[in-house]
C-alpha cells in the first residue's frame, strides 16, 4: 500500500522533473530540475532495498555531478534564454516513439523467458552495503579497479582540458588587462 503510494508519487515527480529538464528554456532551471530528479530517483533505490546505491546516487549525482555542472555553467552565459533551432516535431515524435518502442522490446525480451537464475544471489542476514561489498570485492574486483583507473583518467583530462590559462587570476588584474573574448575580437576585425 505505502510502497504503491511512494512509487506513484516519486514516479510522477521524477517524470515531471525530467520533463522540465528537457523542455525548459533556461539552462539554470534545467539543471535544478535535473538535480531534483536525481534525488527523486534515489528514492526508488531505497524502495527497492538498494540502500547503498541510493546513497551513492545522492552523493555522486546530486553532489559531484551537479556541482561540476554548476561550476561548468560559470564558464557559459547561462542567464540568457537559449535560442535554439528546433527540428520539426513530427519527425522528432516519430523517431522518439520508434526508439521508445525498440527500448521496450529490448527491455521486455529477456523478461518473456522465465529461465533466469540469479548469478550472485542476495546474501541473507547482512545489510545491503555488506552484501554489495562482498560481491564487489570478489566477483567484480577487476572492473572495480578498471573503473578507478577510468576515473583517474577522467580527472586528469578534465584538469588538462579546462585548466588551461588558469594561472592568470582574473580577480587580481586590472579590468582593461582582462583578455576579451575571441568572438568579439573576430567581430571587430571583420
Amino acid at each position: 500500500m505505502f510502497e504503491a503510494i511512494a512509487f506513484y508519487l516519486f514516479a510522477f515527480l521524477t517524470i515531471a522533473m525530467f520533463y522540465i529538464t528537457v523542455m525548459s528554456k533556461h539552462a539554470l532551471y534545467s539543471m535544478t530540475a535535473l538535480a531534483a530528479g536525481m534525488i527523486f530517483i534515489s528514492a526508488f533505490f531505497f524502495i527497492l532495498g538498494a540502500d547503498f546505491l541510493g546513497a551513492v546516487q545522492i552523493i555522486v549525482y546530486s553532489g559531484a555531478v551537479m556541482a561540476l555542472y554548476a561550476f561548468g555553467m560559470m564558464f557559459f552565459d547561462s542567464t540568457r534564454e537559449l535560442k535554439e533551432k528546433t527540428t520539426p516535431s513530427l519527425l522528432v515524435f516519430g523517431l522518439g516513439g520508434m526508439a521508445a518502442l525498440m527500448t521496450v522490446i529490448i527491455v521486455a525480451a529477456p523478461i518473456v523467458s522465465d529461465n533466469i537464475a540469479a548469478a550472485y544471489p542476495i546474501v541473507e542476514g547482512v545489510g545491503n552495503t555488506q552484501a554489495v561489498g562482498m560481491v564487489l570485492f570478489t566477483k567484480y574486483l577487476i572492473p572495480f579497479e578498471v573503473a578507478a583507473v577510468m576515473l583517474l583518467v577522467a580527472m586528469i583530462s578534465g584538469i588538462v582540458l579546462a585548466g588551461k590559462k588558469m594561472d592568470i587570476s582574473l580577480t587580481l588584474v586590472e579590468d582593461d588587462e582582462i583578455p576579451q573574448h575571441d568572438k568579439e575580437k573576430e567581430k571587430a576585425e571583420s
Partner: protein, 102 residues
Amino acid sequence: MMEIGLNHYLVLSTILFAIGLLGIMRRRNLLMLFFATEILLNSVNIAFAAISHFYGDLSGQMFAFFVIAIAASEVAVGLGLLVVWFKRSGSIDLETLKSMRG
C-alpha cells in the same frame, strides 16, 4: 494496481528513457545534450536496480555502480571539452560544430 511489480519499474524506466531521447533529439544546446544523457543513464539505473531486487540478484546493482562511475567520468571529460570549445567559438550551440561542411 496496488501491487508494485517489476513491470511498473520497467515502464517507468522506459518513460524516462523516452524523455531523455526526446531531449537528445530536440535540444540544440550541448549542455542540454549532457543533461539528456544523464537522464538516459539514470533511467537505465532504475531498471537495473528493479531487476536486481525482483530477481534477488546483486549483479544489477553492480552494473548500476559502474554506470554511475562512467557517468561521472563522462561529465568530467565532456565539460572539459565543452569549456575548451566555448573558449574557442564563444557558443555551445550544436550548429557551431558544423565546421567541416564542404
